[in-house]
Symmetry: C2
């Protein structure tokens, strides 16, 4: 097609703002302990898509007409996402050497420093949220609860534990879905919910964001796992075929790539049908489902 | 002597309350993913002294006459402390097999699960604080900021990074102190400050808790390092002499055990002199300095 979708245009437009906020919020690399701060910055500025912060900004804008009040909170979400990638890549977890085409954090800074850089990013995310001066916009405790629930044992970290425990086991498809819902869906839904809460969304809108976010999160993870099967290492910037080698529980692994693709498309159609209930930016939310259907990296 | 100090009596009195709060706040071991929840509980209920939560309760009681409003927040501090121990013991960090006389978390649950159990404890601590219903007692954002600052790159995690970076290097004594101030002092001071804030302490009281907490934290770390030199593995429940073998930067390592002991005693006398400014429980705070002077484990 050549032209980018509305959602991609939105991503392009907000990415510089998100990057500037992250640069402002992360400790400078010149401050001690410098190696820790360099390790944190190395993985945060490694070319991520900024999907989660963009979803937070878009949700806020969609319900309130403005995204600016959500910018600091959005940056905190990217810190949490990066923390999870750094720890996921560790030798004790997925043992990956390459991420986004560059050596993983522990390959550059050593295992101990990578563990601490992840820990520091998680802690700094909560510090950022508690300092975000969101008192006027919304109940700060409710916002923190959204992020903590999405991150903790009920959310992303619990999902990563399931992922680890499922390795090499033939678990039922519904368990694979339950794992994806936590591992990927929880933070994607949490990002939308956080932005919507900052924008003072109604209870009905928050429910719509939940229904939409759960589906988008699930389809995103299935898409990721399909890329792991089909893409080349060059296009993806990380090892491919590794899920199968490691006996990871994935939807393509359980039902085959073709059926997994049809399943993702079905889930994304459901999400697209919910988009009109998500406020003024419904078109961008619909466009995201198209983007995920055709993504190649 | 046979009789325990006032501070030890206080520890004995509050420990069951802290343990009951932790048991209530941690996910049950019967809930999925069970291995994650078992790993979290394994290290939380491994016989810790509960020093940090006790300091939080004592500070709250000292300024307000009541400790109950600080109980949930106090439990969150123990989750953060436990998270730091689990990650500290990992092969990529200090690589310890034994902690409090039992195999370390990764020895029982594997490295990946230990990383995740630590991550989950940190996240759950912030979730607990955001749900602690402290809205009436104090500004919840100010409380979270206290804990995050004590934990993150400026606090404990930054100190652990310095600890790692100093290994095998001959750093100046003032750098060892700067590292201890973050690695141990920050969370001990943060625990006192959190309790004092929940008890609505005055600005002058908060300054006194800072002056006292920094000294107690420093003396505690010097004491820990002295035990590593002098104690037996049996008495301590973990490996001794390991700091020296690993080239750790410690005060005893830099100036010798005898001078380090005199230094700790001097710092604790300074702390004892501040105790009368800490409110109604000044005697317990003075007693803590005696306790730290003579501790054997």
């Amino acid at each position: 097609m050549g032209t980018s979708s509305r959602f991609e245009q939105y991503l392009e437009r907000v990415r510089p703002k998100i990057d500037a906020a992250l640069d402002r919020l992360l400790p400078p690399a010149s401050r001690e302990p410098r190696t820790l701060h360099r390790a944190m910055r190395y993985s945060v500025f490694a070319g991520g898509k900024r999907l989660r912060p963009a979803l937070c900004l878009l949700a806020c804008e969609s319900v309130s007409g403005r995204s600016a009040p959500a910018l600091t909170a959005a940056a905190a979400l990217e810190m949490i996402h990066t923390f999870s990638l750094v720890h996921d890549d560790l030798p004790g977890m997925d043992d990956d050497d390459l991420r986004r085409g560059r050596p993983t954090n522990h390959k550059v800074f050593g295992e101990g420093m990578a563990i601490l850089a992840g820990d520091a990013l998680l802690s700094l995310a909560f510090e950022t949220l508690s300092r975000a001066n969101l008192r006027r916009a919304a109940d700060p405790c409710a916002l923190l609860e959204t992020v903590c629930t999405a991150t903790g044992p009920e959310g992303m970290i619990g999902g990563q534990a399931m992922d680890l425990l499922f390795e090499g086991r033939k678990v039922p498809l519904r368990s694979v879905y339950a794992m994806h819902r936590r591992k990927t869906g929880a933070l994607i839904h949490g990002s939308l919910r956080l932005g919507a809460q900052i924008g003072a969304a109604s209870a009905a809108q928050l429910r719509a964001f939940r229904d939409y976010g759960e589906r988008v999160g699930l389809a995103f993870q299935i898409g990721d796992d399909l890329l792991n099967v089909r893409s080349s290492r060059r296009a993806l910037g990380k090892a491919t075929g590794s899920d199968r080698a490691r006996g990871k529980a994935t939807v393509p692994g359980r039902v085959g790539a073709d059926r997994a693709e049809r399943e993702a498309a079905r889930i994304l159609r459901e999400a697209a049908a919910i988009a009109p209930r998500l406020g003024g930016r419904a078109e961008e939310f619909e466009s995201l489902t198209e983007f995920l259907l055709h993504r190649t990296h």
